[in-house]
Amino acid sequence: MKDSKCKREKPTGLVHRRNPVGWLTQQGLILFLLVTSLQAEPHVIGFERFHSAEASVEGGAILFSELGCANCHGDSPVKVERKGPKLVDLSQRVEREWLREFLRNPENGRKGSTMPSMLHGMSDENLGDILAFLGTIGKGIKFRAGRHANAERGSAIYHEKGCVACHAPTADYRGPHGSGNDFDASLAIAHPDLQAKTSLEALNLFLSSPSKYRPDSRMPHIQLEPQEAIDVAAHLLDIQASDPREVSGVDDWPESTVEEAARGKALVQKMNCAACHEIPGLKPDGVREIGGDGAHHCLSKEKVEGLPFYNLTDLQRESLLLFLQKKDGFEGDGAHLTLAALNCYACHDRDSVGGPTTAANPFFVGNEGLGDSGRLPPPLTGIGHKLKPEWLKGVLEGKAENRVRPYVKTQMPAYAAHAAGLTEWLEELDRPDDPVPLEDRADDRDVGRKLLGIQGGVNCITCHNWGEQKSLGIPAVDLSNLDKRLQPTWFRSYLLNPAEYRPGTLMPPLWPGGKSTLPDVLGGDTERQIGAIWNFIEDGEGIPEGFPDRSGGQFELVPQDRPMIQRTFFNKSGTKAILVGFPGDIHLAFDGQKGKPALIWRGAFFDAYDTWFTRAAPFGDPLSEDVYPFPEAEQAGRFRGYELDGDGNPTFIVSKEGREIREKFSVTDGKMIRMISWSDGGAPDVSHPEGVETIVEEADDRLTFTYFWK
C-alpha cells in the first residue's frame, strides 16, 4: 500500500477490549466468565486489528470475506476464499455434545466464532436430525497407535514455533521475553474449549495436517513432525499422562436411523451449508443476490428464520454496509485485504503495516545476535519483486529447502493449494514499473569474489554464511544461493539502502548514498561493483576471499625423503583408497576394494585436513589436475595389505584364485616403477594408465613396468 488507507494497529492500551480470550485455566476462567455475556460478536482478526476504530470500506470488505458472505453472494474481495472446515468424520473427531451446543449458538463452542447461527426457529428434533446426518459423513478414520506424548515439549513447540503469533500463550508459560499470565489476548484468536470439543488423537490428526480439514488456510498448514503434533495436542488439552493410549477418544455418537439422517440431510441442504463447508454428496446453491426486504436480511439485528444470524457490532454492520455500497467495481487495496484475512500480518509486515502484535512480539525467538532480523520473519514489502517466482512459490508451499533463516524459530506454514495463485498475484502486484537493471558483466566475476570477502572487499562474509562455510561472525543468511532466490533488480536496490526495506536491520549501507567506499575497485563504480557480486554468486564457482583456506594449506602432505601413505575415501578410488605420495611428485591411489591401482598423478599430493579432522569425511581428490586413471575394471583380486621396504616403498598384496600377486611401486627420476610378481602359474593380466608412456621388462617370475611422460 503506497498510501495507507487502513488503520494501523493502535497501541495496546487504546484497543477496545472486545474479546479477551483466555485459557480455561484457573486464572483465565474468571475473566472468561465475566465477558461471556457481553462479548458475542464474531472476531475477525484482520478487522479487529486494523479496522475497528471507525467504519471503513476495507473493514467491511474483510468482514464480507471472513464472515463467509462471499460464499453465497460471490465476489470475494480476498484472494484466498474463506471457507468453513470440511464436515467429514465428525463423529470421530468432535464430541456430539459440543457440536450440538455449537450449532445452537456458535458462540458457545468458540468465542468469536465466525459461524453464524443457522438453527433459529428449528426444533430439538431438527437439530437431532442434522447431527444424525453429520454423523454419517466420512469414510472413517483409523487413528494411529498411540505414541508417547509430552505436553511440556508441546508447550515449548507451541510457544516457539509460531502458534502464539495468532493464539494466546498459556497462562503459566514463561518465555525469555514474555510470559503468558500478563498477555493481552484481545488480538489473539481463541481456541474452542478443546477438552469439550475433541480428543487427543483427533487433535493430533488435525495438527498433523490442518489443510486436510481447513482448506482455506485460515488455520494454516503448520508443518509439525509426528512427535511434535502429538506433543502440541497434549499441551493444548493439558494432558499429563505420557501414554496417549491412556487418554480416551471422542465419545461414541448414538446410533441414528436412516430416516433421521435423511431428514437431517434435507435440512443441511436447505440451509446451504455446502456454500461454506465441503460436504461429500452436497453441492452449494448458486450465487444469491444481496437484498432482503427491509429488516429481513443477514445483517438484521434480530434473528430471521431461514437466514444466517451474525451477532454484529454496530461498527461491523456499518462497515459491511459501506462495503456493500462500493462492492460493484471494488478493486481491493493492494495486498492488504488478503494479508489481513489470512493473518500473514501476525508474523510479517508489509509497507510498515502489520507484523507481530505488541503482545505477541516478545514470543518470537531466535538468534538475537542478529537483532530483530534474527527472530522476526522477514517483511513482505515488495515480496513479489524481491523473490524469484519459483522460489516464492516454494516458500508458500512450505518447502524445507526454501527455508533460509534456520535461526528464526517461528516456522512458515505451507499454503500449498494457494501457492501458485498467490505467487502469480504478488508478482503482478509488486512488479516495478521501470526497474534499474543490474550491471552484469561476466568479466567482473573475480572482483565479485574479492568484494564479498574481507581482503579489500565489503566484508559480506563477516556476517553471512556461504554454503557450508560459517561466516566469520554472526550466522546471517547464506549468500551462496541468493541468485536462486532473489531477483537481480531487487538485489541492486536493496544493497543501495537495506534499511529502506527493513528498518532496524543490522545490514549496513555498504554504498552509502550510492557511493562506493572502494574507489580502486572497478573505478569505484557502484553499479559495476554490485553487479560483480551478483555475477560471482550466480557463477557458483569458488568461495569469497578471506575464508580460512584449507586446501593445500597446512595439511598438505608433502613427501620429503620417504613415501607417505594415507588411507581415505577418495574419488575414483573408492572407500578403501590407499594413497601413496612419493618424493619426486608422482603419486598413486590404490583401490583396496578392487585390489588394483586406480590413479596416478603428478604435482602436489594430497591435503589431509578432511581425512584427519572433518567429521563429515568427504571424498578427497588429488591436489593436481595432472591425473592419469587406470582403466575401469571389476574386482582384480582380494586386497590383503601392503608391506613397506626399507625406503618406505609399498608392495601391495592381492590374492586371486588361490595365488598371491604382489605389486611394488617406487618412483625414481620422474618415472614410476611398478614391479609385479606372483606365487605360481603364469603372469597375470595387467592394465596401464591412459596417457602415460610404458616400458615393459619381462622375466620368468616378474613383470616390470616403467611409467613416464615424454
Binding site: 607417505m564 590407499i578 579432522f613 569425511a617
Partner: protein, 493 residues
C-alpha cells in the same frame, strides 16, 4: 598441548576433600579450552592425542589416534613427565577406533577393514599393514565407523559396525549395524544385529562380551548389551542385511514400533533388552568404551564390575551385572566425572592404574579441551559407595563398600520408581509409564554392609530407579552418588 603433570582439575569420589580415593595424572591434553564443535577447529602442534584406542603392550602403551596414527608411549607409568616418551609406530590409517594386541602384532580397526600392524624388523615401527579381516560394506557415510577388535573368553575377536547417518540407503549395504567376529579366512562373520553406534566393547570376568550403544535413532537411552550371536538389539535400520545369503539367521518377527519397549520385546523372540539401561542425563548420554575391573583390589572395591566411558558428560560410569534367569542384568552407578574431554577409551595397566583416552572432536562434551590422556590410580582410601544392587524376589539388596550408619537408614532414606521407554525410530525417547513404588520393608544386614529393600509391585523389563537420601557411613561420609538404576529384565524366583 600440555605434557605431563598432576591434573589440576578437581575430582572427588570420596567425600572428604583432601583424601581422594582416586587420583589423576595427566599425560597429555590439548593446551587450551577449545570449542570442539567449531568447524574451524584445528589441531595444535605436536601429537594430536585424540585417543581412539588404547592397549597395554609389554610395558608400553599403544595409543591409536583418530587422524590415523598409532603411538607407543614409553614408560607410561612414570610420575615424572620427562621420563615419558612417544614413538610413532604406524601412520596413514583411516580412523582407527580400536587397537588390540595379537601374537605380538597390533590389530587396529579401520573404516573398511581390521589391519594387522607388524614390526618385522624390530625397529619399533610397523612395516607391514596386512588385512586381517574385511567383508563389510562402506559407502563413505561419515557415521559408518568400525570398532574393535576385542577378544572374548573363547579367544574370538569381535568387531561392531556403526550405522550411517543421514542417508538411509547407506545402511542397506552389507552389515551396517551388525556385530560379528573375525573368521578363520579373514572374513567378517556377522553374528547379531540392531546396533546403532556400538562404540565400546569389553568382556566380563568369565569372558562374556558386552558392548555399549548410544542414544539415537531407535535407541531411546544408552544401553549396555550382552553381545552374542543370533539376537537383535532393536535398531531396524540394520534389518536389510538379513536378506544377504550370508545372514546367519532369520528373524521370526519384526517388532512394531511406537509401543512400550516391553510390548515390542514380546513380539520378536530374537529381540533382546539391554543388560543395563543408563537413563539419559541421569547417568549417561553417549556411552563409549567398556573396561572390566579385574585388579584384585588394586583399583578399589569394584572388582568384577565394568567401567563405561561416557562421551558427552566427560565421565566414567560403573556397571554391576548379575545373572537372573540365565541372562545378565544389573545396575549402573556414577563413578568419576569432570574429565577435560569426552571419555572414549579406557585401559588398565597390569599394576591396576586406569588410562583414560579422550577426544571431543565432532560432537561435544562437558570437557572444554579437545583431547587428552590421563591415568587414574587408587589411593587405597575406600570410597563410600553403593557397591552392588541385586534383584530379589520381593525387591532389592544393596551392598555398600563400608557399613552404613543404621541411624541414617530411615523410611525417608529410600524411594523407588520404575519406567520404561518407547520403542520407536525417533532419535532418543523419554521415560514412559512411570510408576512410584511403595517400599514396605527395610532390613539392615551384616552391620550395615547390606540393606534389603522390599519393594511393592516391581515390573519386569522396567528400569527401577533407586534414590537415597541422607545415608552416611559409620564415620559420617555421605554416599559418593546417591542413586542407582537397576534394569529388572527378570524378577528372580
Amino acid at each position: 598441548m600440555v605434557i605431563g603433570g598432576i591434573a589440576s582439575l578437581a575430582f572427588s569420589l570420596c567425600a572428604e576433600e583432601k583424601k581422594n580415593s582416586y587420583e589423576v595424572f595427566e599425560l597429555m591434553s590439548a593446551s587450551s579450552p577449545n570449542d570442539s564443535r567449531s568447524k574451524e577447529w584445528k589441531p595444535g602442534d605436536g601429537i594430536t592425542m585424540e585417543v581412539s584406542g588404547i592397549e597395554w603392550v609389554d610395558g608400553k602403551l599403544a595409543v591409536a589416534i583418530r587422524k590415523g596414527e598409532v603411538w607407543m608411549v614409553e614408560n607410561p607409568l612414570a610420575n615424572d613427565p620427562a621420563e615419558i616418551s612417544y614413538q610413532l609406530f604406524a601412520s596413514g590409517l583411516h580412523e582407527p577406533l580400536g587397537v588390540t594386541l595379537d601374537k605380538g602384532d597390533l590389530l587396529v580397526s579401520q573404516r573398511a577393514e581390521i589391519t594387522r600392524l607388524r614390526d618385522s624388523d624390530g625397529d619399533g615401527v610397523a612395516d607391514a599393514y596386512l588385512t586381517e579381516c574385511d567383508g563389510w560394506n562402506v559407502s563413505g557415510n561419515y557415521h559408518a565407523y568400525a570398532y574393535g577388535p576385542e577378544r572374548d573368553g573363547k579367544d574370538q575377536l569381535w568387531v561392531t559396525l556403526n550405522l550411517g547417518m543421514g542417508n538411509l540407503a547407506d545402511n542397506r549395504i552389507g552389515w551396517r549395524g551388525w556385530g560379528g567376529i573375525i573368521g578363520d579366512d579373514g572374513r567378517f562373520v556377522p553374528k547379531s544385529l540392531g546396533m546403532r553406534s556400538p562404540s565400546g566393547l569389553g568382556r566380563n570376568l568369565v569372558g562374556d562380551m558386552f558392548f555399549t550403544d548410544q542414544q539415537g535413532t531407535w535407541i531411546p537411552a544408552t544401553p549396555v548389551y550382552h553381545l552374542r550371536p543370533g539376537v537383535f538389539y532393536g535398531n531396524q535400520e540394520s534389518l536389510e542385511s538379513l536378506k544377504l545369503p550370508d545372514a546367519p539367521f532369520k528373524m521370526k518377527a519384526k517388532p512394531k514400533p511406537n509401543q512400550p519397549y516391553p510390548d515390542a520385546l514380546a513380539e520378536s523372540p530374537e529381540f533382546v533388552p539391554p543388560a543395563v539401561w543408563l537413563p539419559y542425563n541421569k547417568m549417561d548420554r553417549s556411552a563409549t568404551d567398556i573396561e572390566l575391573i579385574d585388579q584384585k583390589g588394586k583399583f578399589g572395591p569394584f572388582d568384577g564390575q565394568l567401567l563405561v566411558g561416557e562421551f558427552t558428560n566427560s565421565s566414567i560410569n560403573r556397571v554391576f551385572l548379575e545373572k537372573v534367569g540365565g541372562e545378565y542384568q544389573g545396575a549402573c552407578f556414577r563413578f568419576m566425572q569432570g574429565f577435560p574431554a569426552a571419555v572414549v577409551r579406557l585401559c588398565f595397566s597390569p599394576d591396576g592404574q586406569l588410562f583414560v583416552g579422550m577426544t571431543n572432536r565432532g560432537w561435544s562434551s562437558l570437557g572444554n579441551r579437545s583431547y587428552g590422556l590421563q591415568r587414574i590410580s587408587y589411593s587405597g582410601i575406600t570410597p563410600f559407595a553403593m557397591q552392588e544392587m541385586r534383584a530379589k524376589p520381593d525387591g532389592f539388596e544393596l551392598v555398600f563398600t563400608e557399613p552404613v550408619d543404621p541411624d541414617t537408614v530411615t523410611p525417608e532414606a529410600f524411594s523407588m520408581m520404575s519406567y520404561t521407554y518407547e520403542y520407536s525410530s525417533a532419535y532418543g525417547g523419554e521415560e514412559i509409564l512411570t510408576k512410584q513404588h511403595e517400599i514396605n520393608g527395610i532390613e539392615i544386614q551384616e552391620g550395615g554392609k547390606r540393606i534389603r529393600l522390599k519393594v511393592k509391585g516391581c515390573r519386569p523389563l522396567f528400569v527401577h530407579e533407586l534414590r537415597t537420601a541422607g545415608l552416611k557411613s559409620a564415620d559420617g561420609k555421605a554416599l559418593d552418588f546417591p542413586n542407582a538404576y537397576y534394569t529388572l529384565n527378570k524378577i528372580p524366583k
